[in-house]
Symmetry: C2
Subunit: 376 residues, 2 copies
DNA sequence: GGTAGTTTTTGAACCGTTTCACGATCAGGG
DNA sequence: CCCTGATCGTGAAACGGTTCAAAAACTACC
């Protein structure tokens, strides 16, 4: 710590690029002769500075950095000493500009605060870490413009590839980016075109699993608290739910009561279940399938408040199998997705050899049954 | 989608001498014999290409990009057409190398899958988005080496600043980085030195709040399910808990029963509370303070299974006030931290004017009381 | 038509690396 | 003593932008 007492001046004087920048650059070149030494070049040391300090050519410094065995140990040590001395840190921009290799990957997810996506991001990072790639993560909040902006930014930064969970069905910009030479993989979304790799979980199957399970428990009228159909996951789960009905000889038109919740949160769930409860007794469902666990949380809370027994009077199934699903007052049945693996697999696909065909991976979800949907 | 069927051809034909443009490229870059592929080998268009296509000088193209009002509308349009035509995307590395301005910020947090940190990251992103900064996020998993590695990577990439929640007390590398000219802010950790800005929540106060509350409810012997003392947050919360005891005239030595849980998870909580319950009746606590809500979750679950009434026989307080705390069978009292604001504030500090002194922000936590610690 | 002033455009220099053809140096064999 | 090869080290040429002094093209006005 004390070591740094010397430096603060460094931070204080700022490079005033505007007026004397040009002058200082060409005329004076550097170092207006101060005896104090030590507090010299505020500019980050460059490879040239190192070369001068070590009394070698820049090429040699570069070799020390990149191909150490090509330089004599004696020279190498001298250079390394200079590097330490000057506190030299490579300039990645120059490096990439010349060499063309940067090791970073950009990720755009729908929602930074959704555990589903952060777990996936974690998976991506785990996989990428081996090759010391850097992750850049951003959340689009389901906004197409924001998604585009981040992808463009990533591309300018020269990322090696991008992994994106698209906000809408419009993925032209992803295709275009890929055409320009940046690898791309869709996350949580099957690719609509064969040229683009993707990793997804079969949401139709997930919806089907949940509803088939409820039917097997004897329910014949099921509410589906769903989000907006503009979100693909919502559409697909709905489709699966309906299919399960048809499989069982029920008519989705009447047996599946879809209710659109105002938001995918506990509050949304509360509003949704109240709407279901308000239905005339004759058409009132005996079970609810929730499009995610947060919604289910609100449903459970409301049912408890209303004194409606779960699962006896109303069965509940959620989606995502979040950490706390098993720990609730009434442990919640839920459809589990292999979140982490989703991420690692996406990262894998990013770096497949050029000539191999893009791959479309689809994981199967799995139903975890707990008390909230136990047989009556 | 169909639109892009054309692209490969466009790319091929565009390159001067349309017939063998592709070949010319591949002489150097190999990649012979690609049938349908065609997308390979295409060099990204550069500003020079655009200039040539538009019949202007490179400087003009640059101006169109950066100072559009300095170029005549007619010229601008011509250039813009060329840009669109060639599918030109700026090369950020070159841009930064010359101009020195890159707009990205690196963040290193302890744990990517912890909602606390992802919420903070969200706050950071929200704040940074205005200036279209890019976020690069990484998790250190409490490993100092990994933390160092990511910071170094960020520095090489030339980020504008870093926000880091340090894994250990050793922050020399952060200071060094800052001395080299990269802005830095500590997250969730008060800075030990005045030169470094930081944003934190007062964990001592948090621990004190929780325990003082329990004492006010009449508890005189309180278990503290804590994590390893190598984690600063754990140390501080413990300190606060003990202080609350002293404040109330109790002796922490006997009144505060600290139990170290094997992990900061529900499973850890279960193990911890079992240890507490195994104590001889005389020294058995009547309340538990848990170092985070996940631990509290396990405690609640175990108590329920054991038929111990909450809060009548055992009161429980958690930490973090996660989303579902209020939604549990027994709604959980918890210490809330202004997570999002933590992030936005950290981002703010990053870009304060050079000459202003680094600022140390400490937020006060807040106790949210619910049923799990209601008066008996 | 000439002059001065203003707006546009130009083009070369430069940012900090990597790369690579080319010298230097040296050991050993003929 | 010369030649050959191998090993090290050199230094200039990219990479693709931004900058800025200076040239060019206009404008307005006498």
């Amino acid at each position: 710590m004390k070591r740094f007492k010397n430096y603060p001046i460094q931070g204080g004087g700022r490079r005033d690029s505007s007026h004397n920048g040009g002058m200082a650059n060409s005329t004076k070149a550097s170092k207006p002769a101060d005896g104090a030494g030590a507090r010299t070049a505020r500019r980050r040391a460059s490879i040239t500075d190192v070369a001068r300090a070590a009394g070698v050519a820049v090429g040699t410094v570069s070799n020390v950095l990149n191909k150490p065995d090509r330089v004599l140990p004696a020279t190498r040590e001298r250079v390394e000493a200079a590097i330490a001395e000057l506190n030299f840190v490579r300039n990645g921009s120059a490096r990439q500009l010349r060499a063309g290799t940067l090791t970073s990957v950009g990720v755009v997810v729908l929602d930074l605060s959704n555990p589903f996506f952060t777990d996936a991001a974690r998976g991506i990072q785990d996989r990428l870490e081996r090759d010391s790639f850097t992750l850049m993560v951003a959340g689009s909040d389901e906004d197409l413009d924001r998604e585009r902006r981040y992808l463009r930014l990533y591309e300018e930064h020269g990322v090696q590839g991008v992994i994106v969970s698209p906000a809408t069905d419009d993925i032209d910009h992803v295709l275009a980016l890929r055409e320009r030479g940046t690898a791309a993989v869709l996350l949580d979304r099957p690719s609509p075109v064969p040229e683009l790799a993707s990793v997804a979980v079969d949401d139709v199957a997930g919806g089907r699993l949940a509803v088939a399970h409820l039917i097997a428990q004897g329910h014949e009228r099921i509410a589906f608290l769903n989000g907006s159909h503009s979100i693909r996951q919502c559409r697909d789960r709905r489709e699966g739910a309906a299919a399960a009905m048809t499989d069982a000889g029920l008519d989705p038109e009447t047996a599946l009561v879809e209710i659109t919740v105002p938001s995918l949160t506990p509050q949304g769930g509360e509003a949704g279940i109240r709407e279901a409860l308000a239905l005339p007794a004759a058409s009132r469902p005996s079970a609810v399938f929730c499009v995610n666990d947060l919604v289910a949380l609100g449903v459970l809370r409301t049912l408890r408040r209303e004194g409606i027994a779960v699962p006896e009077e109303m069965a509940v199934v959620g989606y995502d199998d979040v950490t706390f699903a098993a720990e609730l007052a009434t442990p919640l049945s839920s459809v589990r997705q292999p979140t982490l693996e989703l991420g690692t697999r996406a990262a894998d696909l990013l770096f497949r050899p050029e000539d191999s065909a893009p791959e479309q991976v689809v994981f199967e979800p799995e139903l975890v049954t707990r008390e909230s949907s136990a047989a009556r």
